[in-house]
Symmetry: C2
Amino acid sequence: MKKIINHPDHFVDEMIDALLLAHPGWVKAVTADRRALVRADGSRDGKVGIVTGGGSGHLPGFLGYVGRGLASGVAVGNVFSSPSSEQIYEATKAVNGGAGVLYLYGNYGGDVFNFDLAADLAEADGIDTRTVLVSDDVASAPAERRQERRGVAGMVFGFKCAGAAAERGDSLDDVARIAAKANGATRTMGVGLSPTILPAAGKPTFTLPDGEMEIGIGIHGEPGTHRGKLESADAIADRLAGEVLRDLGAPARSRVALLVNGLGATPLEELYLLYRRAAGAIAAAGLTVARSYVGEYVTSLEMAGASITAMLLDDELETLLEAPARSPFWREGWPTAGGVQ
Amino acid sequence: MKKIINHPDHFVDEMIDALLLAHPGWVKAVTADRRALVRADGSRDGKVGIVTGGGSGHLPGFLGYVGRGLASGVAVGNVFSSPSSEQIYEATKAVNGGAGVLYLYGNYGGDVFNFDLAADLAEADGIDTRTVLVSDDVASAPAERRQERRGVAGMVFGFKCAGAAAERGDSLDDVARIAAKANGATRTMGVGLSPTILPAAGKPTFTLPDGEMEIGIGIHGEPGTHRGKLESADAIADRLAGEVLRDLGAPARSRVALLVNGLGATPLEELYLLYRRAAGAIAAAGLTVARSYVGEYVTSLEMAGASITAMLLDDELETLLEAPARSPFWREGWPTAGGVQ
């Protein structure tokens, strides 16, 4: 095991410790265990709150997408494990500004169970909540059962668009509508080249013989749709972008946002090679890449691999995507002075 | 070999292709081979140009640090190989605004040879040049032969400070003085956990048995100062930060910038664990962490490992570090609208 860690039991708490230390003024803990965190500048009266959450091991996801113009709070679980309903509930109360709270997170059983419990607790307090599940992973269920799909890298477009809507003062119904619209317009497909090792388990989450790849892999190593010999960057991009575009079914001359996401161990150079071919496939389909994102947005610890995401844009989504945002992991359009480093 | 590439001979050109495609309006090529690139907004009369360069395989280094408030141009070599003197010379001419050009790059033999040749060509054209070599790697030579040290992740502080000085209109002598001052105030020490595989060679640059680490490793896999059993994150951070602080010899109550850099395959979570302990060591030494940087700044393809860098600040360097900057890989303080994505 080639991991730079201390005791596995302290992994998540030390990570949170470090994030708070490295980025003062960004988020603050609202529970004693520091697993519920919200924007340090607090809730704003009349503003919709957005709470996300999920297991650890996906940095910058989920915690990294709390910030101005992004999510307002997060509940942080153990590695690849759901946070508790109490942690979600505490984040909910802390971000509530009287206009309600949107729950926006990936479609995983444990998370759904605990967020739903938190929603009941919040409702009893008179806090109105809505839930939008991110379900962008094309490989995880066929199109006719789209609501069963898992949420992967495309969740960042949801945080960005819903966060911008909340920031400009949209109502809870509108913020939820926009999150659902962003999710409905987003498709992702991934490839894995090597497994993740959970700190506590000390062994790989799955096995993949050297020189093989798994197309459609999930961000926790969930099985994909095809396993075979490792192919060229262009062949892999053709597979991923092909599935994404087929499932998205964007009308010709549409504009799309293109995200090539690294799962952890894959070099930035290789992500750009995938980007190059995916952008070519998009152009060949008669579409325009309006905005590009290449880097590590939602990872799976040290898994080698990547995913390709496309979001079909309309004027509303494109405006929200371009709006200012700021966290240590996503910066757009606001000056630094006095803000988060 | 677990690499997402096409033919190894096309690796660098396809990467440049992708970078130009993904980030329109950022840089433009000034040679037919596209290995010399400069800011797309061109040179400015009376403004000092800064040209950097080096081998590929280090993204965001070097190309990623061309931008507003950063370097003005770059020459891009093959993987881990120097660019040619002609490529450097073409970048020099393109960024020259009549106020001279600073060469700022890592201290490696091939790069020094070719940059010096380019300086002669530029001089013959009447372009005044200065050279500052980045030499922050503590492990690569003892303190009394500091000028022999290699340049590693600490180079980003040089680009940032010198770039901000050039942006505000400092003279060539001043920009060179600031680059030298930033380099003189910066120390780095790295650790490697697994080797890099060069695309063309298809085999590891060095071997490291599973479960071992190499302290002091260079960004091309140059041998370090200690090889042994992999230790905990805290023990590794103590080693790296200890060497860095000992060599830096900062007076008590000084302010420092702290950078924890990932070499490629190490998860962001693990970088934050190193940050946590390094920040603690800095505080224990009576110093203050004024600015924090955690992420992949100068990589070594898919090498697993990290480095810790500290720069001793004074008011001048801290002001320059905080100044606006913008490239797709470094954003500080300027609005997005109409700019680089």
